[in-house]
């Protein structure tokens, strides 16, 4: 029984937190109060459900308890204002909210856009989204981001205080702000995803869970904004990366390059879902759409040799136009090398070396080394592998580069 209750609470936290908190914010206008009351409702559920059983509709039960708690707190504070009357009217309302109503969709969208407002520091946006939209506890978020729980609590408290003090509006942005703010939300979700993705293959399951949360939240956003192509493109991009998780490291945790991955380990269902999304998109050359289409080119090929690298180079061209970063240029050079030969790629990379801000970027010498190796220029390749080895950020990457360097020397 105890386990069933714990499971039911964990499930309700993941599925219902955003709805409960957004409902309470709408009624009280107070972000922090709404969160506290939701938290209290979950604590009450733990004891009440063990005694009286799990209610048929845990979400409605939790919402009602949280609303009553809000009334108590506001009465206690002596703030007999309009907010209280509004809460009071709905508190014992036996009518369950229709989960698919427009009001409910708007409530949750408002919550997401408020948590991801650009006036909040990025780490606070990530933490607030996980707390109030995904329903993770501060302890879980703290562990995922490798900070102490008091530090995470402080980050959340400061973020809520800024929402209130700075007057960050609780709303879905108007159409003129929507493209920019939508991109801000997607950036938070993608950051969550990459945090989780970078931990796959390692033993840190809490960090890997961020990947699952990112996909779940993006699915939620797709549900709330079904007409937005970039939101769906981001989901496709995540699914395509996630599909390769099992193949990207070997048994001892070493990096396996895309070229050498065992393609039978790829998650076919995730790939199929992503490709279906991409087929349904009207091409608009959005940032995530282009990245998803690039990932799709890799995953559609039956082996590395039959990958359509000419198409990938074109897509990187388009991406470099909207997002002209050295990293995108480097990837474009690799695609050119794979479609037109290593010499053409090397010329592009040499031009990049001359550009600023790339001195410490280990993938630059690593890529040069790889192309030189393919051209049979082993001595030059070894020099570049050595440079890359010194700059590589992780042990797994150092081991990979070290292996290649040893090959060049024998």
């Amino acid at each position: 029984m105890a386990d069933r209750v714990a499971d039911a609470i964990a499930r309700a936290s993941a599925e219902e937190t955003a709805r409960i908190i957004s409902t309470l914010i709408r009624m009280t206008g107070d972000f922090a109060l709404a969160e506290d009351c939701a938290q209290d409702a979950f604590v009450r559920a733990l004891s009440d459900w063990r005694k009286g059983g799990i209610p048929d509709n845990p979400g409605a039960w939790l919402t009602t308890v949280a609303k009553r708690r809000a009334i108590d707190l506001i009465r206690h504070a002596g703030a007999e204002d309009r907010a209280l009357r509004r809460v009071a009217v709905g508190a014992d309302d036996p009518v369950e909210p229709d989960p698919d109503s427009n009001a409910d969709i708007d409530d949750r969208l408002r919550l997401i856009f408020t948590c991801c407002h650009p006036a909040l520091p990025i780490d606070a946006r990530v933490a607030l989204t996980l707390r109030t939209v995904a329903g993770l506890t501060p302890a879980q978020i703290a562990r995922a981001f490798l900070v102490t729980e008091p530090a995470m609590d402080k980050r959340l408290v400061r973020a809520r205080a800024k929402i209130r003090h700075a007057g960050i509006p609780y709303r879905v942005p108007p159409p003129d702000l929507m493209p920019e703010r939508r991109d801000g939300v997607l950036a938070v979700l993608y950051l969550l995803f990459t945090e989780g993705y970078s931990a796959t293959g390692g033993g840190d399951l809490i960090r890997v869970s961020l990947l699952r949360e990112a996909i779940r939240l993006t699915r939620l956003l797709v549900e709330l904004m079904p007409d937005d192509g970039e939101v769906r493109a981001l989901l496709a991009l995540m699914l395509l990366h996630h599909a390769r998780s099992a193949a990207r490291t070997d048994a001892v945790g070493d990096v396996v390059t895309l070229e050498e991955q065992d393609r039978s380990l790829w998650d076919r269902d995730a790939i199929t879902e992503a490709l279906t999304i991409l087929q349904s998109l009207v091409p608009r050359a959005g940032r995530y759409e282009l990245q998803a289409r690039i990932a799709a080119c890799h995953l559609e090929a039956s082996d590395a040799a039959s990958t359509n690298f000419a198409r990938i180079a074109e897509l990187y061209d388009a991406l470099a136009f909207i997002d002209p970063s050295p990293v995108v240029e480097l990837n474009r050079a690799v695609a050119v090398a794979m479609s037109q030969g290593p010499e053409a790629g090397l010329r592009l990379i040499d031009a990049l070396v001359a550009s600023r801000g790339m001195e410490d970027y280990y993938l630059l010498p690593a890529t040069r080394a790889d192309l030189l190796r393919r051209m049979g220029r082993g001595t030059e390749a070894a020099t570049e592998y050595e440079k890359a080895l010194q700059l590589a950020p992780s042990e797994a990457e150092k081991r990979y580069l070290g292996k290649r360097l040893a090959e060049m020397r024998c």
Binding site: H117, A119, H165, A166, G167, I168, P169, P173, L177
Partner: protein
């Protein structure tokens, strides 16, 4: 809500574009709409004086309290609905283009 806009310089801004709005247009638009309460330019950091009282002793020093390459060139106090509205107003100020603007909510003493 009431916000203070600190109109600041930014030595990294090297724009040669013509201003989207002139300061006269901005002042006229925000004042007529009732958004802008007051505001002004400030004399440069060279004309600043910093005062401290420590253990009963008064210290008066020349210059601003923090030696930085940027300085506050002016301020405006505005009244508007929320932070997004304040951002929109600040974005139209010519110094958003040629400098930078810090938005701070007022914290009234109750």
């Amino acid at each position: 809500m009431e916000y203070m806009l600190f109109i600041c310089t930014d030595s990294t801004a090297r724009t040669t574009e013509p201003p989207v709005h002139t300061i006269e247009e901005w002042v006229a638009e925000t004042t007529d709409g009732g958004t802008r309460r007051h505001g002004d330019r400030l004399r440069p950091a060279n004309d600043a004086t910093t005062v401290k009282l420590r253990g009963g002793r008064l210290s008066v020093t020349a210059g601003p309290f923090a030696e930085t390459t940027e300085w506050i060139a002016g301020y405006d106090v505005i009244e508007c609905g929320d932070l997004d509205a304040a951002i929109e107003i600040a974005a139209k100020h010519p110094m958003a283009q040629f400098g930078q603007i810090e938005i701070r909510p007022m914290w009234p003493i109750e």
